[in-house]
């Protein structure tokens, strides 16, 4: 899939040049594989990279593993980040223990919405000092955005304390287009495309100037109509499905073309079938999907021309 001359390419290259990349989008669009492919690209270009997932219930809380040279994977979890953050702020371990074990504080930390979000982003923000690149696999649309809103809310709420100062510094970093970028992943389907635009608008309010760039994932090959129309919305044959699918995707993407939204498409790939069907992390780790996506992004020259350079 060559897309040379696509206006999205320079935008995406610039985004990937920044130290911190937020990868957002609706659930199930492939944020995890794409963000992993980008992190892999950085690492293979010799950059010390941290890839972050938030609250993955299938991994250990706070787990940090080195997947390959230069590539670290973190499962960032609210409760762990909360303890780390308060520890950092209070400074005295015995006091910190007293604080985080207090029932009221525990109830507040779990029950009050927003606290999790702010400490999660705070944790990642602190890691900027330790890595050359950070790629974040954000929670799906509304919840990813809510993380930034929480920081803003707490900034209003906690007037004059250290939390407010940190929240302010965090937002300053997240809004700095020299440091942070936003990448939105979508699918060529109605709801994901619509949500992506909504998300872009909301992100522009919270983090003006940080993008976004758009990737449309899993686009089917274009197939001319071969089969007659029918009344039932169910597919009648494999050809019927493929033709309608590609027509529908075309109609969906035309809306973006008409709006002159620059996007890069990534073609659908054959999914791996030989692995444990109920363990997606294993499937993702052991399949070639991340590699395939990395190759596609590399072919589009999104990591620059030469490995080793920046």
């Amino acid at each position: 899939m060559t897309q040379l001359g696509n206006p999205a390419l320079p935008i995406l290259s610039k985004l990937l040049d920044r130290q911190m990349l937020f990868v957002s989008g609706k659930g199930g669009v492939g944020k995890t594989s794409i963000s992993r492919a980008i992190a892999m690209g950085y690492a293979r270009h010799g950059l010390k990279t941290l890839w972050v997932a938030f609250e993955d219930p299938l991994k250990k809380p706070g787990e940090l593993i080195e997947a390959e040279p230069n590539l670290w994977l973190l499962n960032c979890v609210g409760t762990v980040a909360f303890e780390e953050y308060t520890g950092l702020k209070i400074g005295i371990p015995s006091l910190t223990r007293l604080f985080v074990r207090n029932r009221l504080i525990q109830t507040l930390a779990q029950g009050a919405p927003g606290i999790h979000e702010i400490v999660l982003l705070g944790k990642v923000w602190h890691e900027l000092a330790n890595y050359q690149k950070i790629v974040l696999d954000m929670p799906s649309t509304g919840f990813g955005l809510a993380m930034f809103h929480s920081v803003l809310n707490f900034q209003q709420l906690f007037k004059g304390g250290p939390i407010q100062r940190d929240a302010e510094k965090m937002m300053k970093t997240f809004r700095d287009p020299n440091i942070c970028g936003n990448l939105i992943v979508s699918l060529p389907e109605e709801m994901p495309l619509r949500e992506s635009l909504d998300l872009a608008g909301l992100l522009a309010e919270v983090l003006p100037g940080t993008g976004p760039g758009f990737l449309v994932n899993r686009v089917y090959p274009e197939i001319a109509p071969l089969v007659p129309e029918h009344q039932s919305p169910f597919p009648q044959s494999a050809f019927d499905y493929l033709c309608h699918r590609s027509q529908l995707e075309k109609i969906n993407l035309k809306i973006w073309d008409d709006l002159k939204i620059p996007y890069l498409t990534l073609g659908a790939v054959e999914p791996p079938v030989h692995l444990d069907p109920l363990n997606p992390s294993l499937t993702l780790e052991q399949s070639s999907i991340i590699e395939q996506l990395y190759e596609k992004l590399k072919a589009a020259q999104l990591f620059g021309a030469e490995p080793g350079g920046h």
Partner: protein, 365 residues
């Protein structure tokens, strides 16, 4: 299920067609003679537009005439009715506060508290609390035979199931309760220290505002707790069944299994499973393979490429469904239903009629 439960709650991760399935269930309920209602939070625009529901909002809209039309065209009868409703969460929240506060002035005080308004913003991002409150109010009206609640998208659907419990815990938490007693602020040394630290971290205003809000909440605590308990017993009762909607792909199925396990933990009723957007309903025929190969000779490889992806997806799907059924082998009494992926977005109530018809075919897991 439509005939045995008054409330059907559809759960599932994003992008699996939960809203379409919920609407189709509504159509099916109406055809079976029930007075039905679908509550949906964030439907696809094309779905709403195609049903002529652009004005869909906090008040119920009647879809019955459209269903009757579809039945006339495609066969079948519609003996009942179907309403649809999209709750305005901000308004529901205000109603909620006014309903519980002892005086309107007290309600306004709560609504104006900066912590509350921020909490409310955070809450309206998730919507769970308000959707359930709305469900309870509608159920108590005893007007509908069948209420279908299309659950709002959550980061993890589990948050939704956990809602009543978290609220109850919050309201029952004795430490909070005690702290909330404004005249009785004799804290233990540990608590005083914790609050002191909290104040240092958050700045001076927050702790005062929190105690202020706590005081207001204390006034409504008992009545709110009572409501939450009623809600919980409603959800646990025979009246309510939970229907899981999923697309059989490796991104969503593990979460689904986790979700079903949690349902039992919460003592909610796992009624059945809709495997939506399936691709293995049709076989790729020999003819199609042959034709695709011919296209390659004409230098058009797209068709064979498409078929290969489809073939791999079908194989993966079959294995996944097999593994899922094995995993759920203990779920006696639950059913499952398979719906193929549609070739177009739902255009009309006729399309929903077809989906509703597809939901007829259920088998035990």
């Amino acid at each position: 299920m439509i005939l045995t439960r008054n409330v059907i709650i559809t759960c599932g991760t994003g992008g699996v067609g939960k809203t379409t399935v919920s609407a189709a269930l509504g159509v099916r309920a109406a055809m079976l003679g029930r007075k039905a209602l679908v509550i949906t939070i964030d439907p696809a625009k094309r779905l709403v537009t195609s049903l002529g529901l652009d004005a869909l909002g906090d008040q119920a809209t009647d879809l019955t005439p459209l269903i009757k039309n579809a039945c006339e065209k495609l066969g079948g009868t519609c003996l009942g009715s179907l309403d649809a409703l999209m709750p305005d969460t901000k308004k529901t929240l205000e109603d909620f506060v006014y309903a519980f506060a002892p005086t309107p002035a007290a309600a306004e005080k709560v609504l104006k508290n900066p912590i509350f308004s921020i909490l409310a913003k955070e809450f309206s991002g998730s919507n769970e609390y308000m959707a359930l409150y709305r469900l309870k109010t509608l159920d108590e009206m005893n007007y509908y035979d069948t209420i279908i609640l299309d659950t709002p998208p959550s980061r993890h659907t589990i948050t939704f199931l956990n809602t009543p419990r978290v609220m109850k815990q919050f309201l029952e938490e004795r430490m909070v309760r005690w702290l909330l007693l404004p005249t009785n602020r004799i804290f233990s040394a540990g608590l005083r220290k914790a609050l002191g630290l909290l104040e240092k971290l958050t700045g001076a205003g927050f702790v005062t505002q929190m105690l202020d809000l706590a005081e207001s909440l204390y006034q409504i605590q008992d009545i709110a707790l009572d409501t939450v308990k009623k809600l919980e017993s409603l959800l646990e009762s025979e009246k309510v069944g939970f229907l899981m909607v999923t697309a059989p792909n490796p991104e969503t199925v593990p979460e689904l299994i986790h979700l079903i396990e949690s349902l039992h933990q919460y003592r909610f009723r796992f009624e059945g499973l809709v495997l939506n957007r399936t691709l293995s309903a049709f076989k790729i025929s020999e003819d199609e393979w042959a034709q695709a190969h011919q296209e390659v000779e004409r230098n058009r490889p797209d068709l064979i490429y498409g078929l290969k992806i489809l073939d791999a997806l079908q194989t993966r799907e079959k294995r996944l469904i097999e593994a899922l059924r094995n995993k759920l082998a203990n779920e006696t009494g639950a059913f499952y239903s398979v719906l193929p992926e549609l070739v177009r977005d739902v255009h009309s109530v006729e399309d929903l009629y077809y989906v509703a018809d597809g939901l007829k075919n259920t088998q035990p897991i």
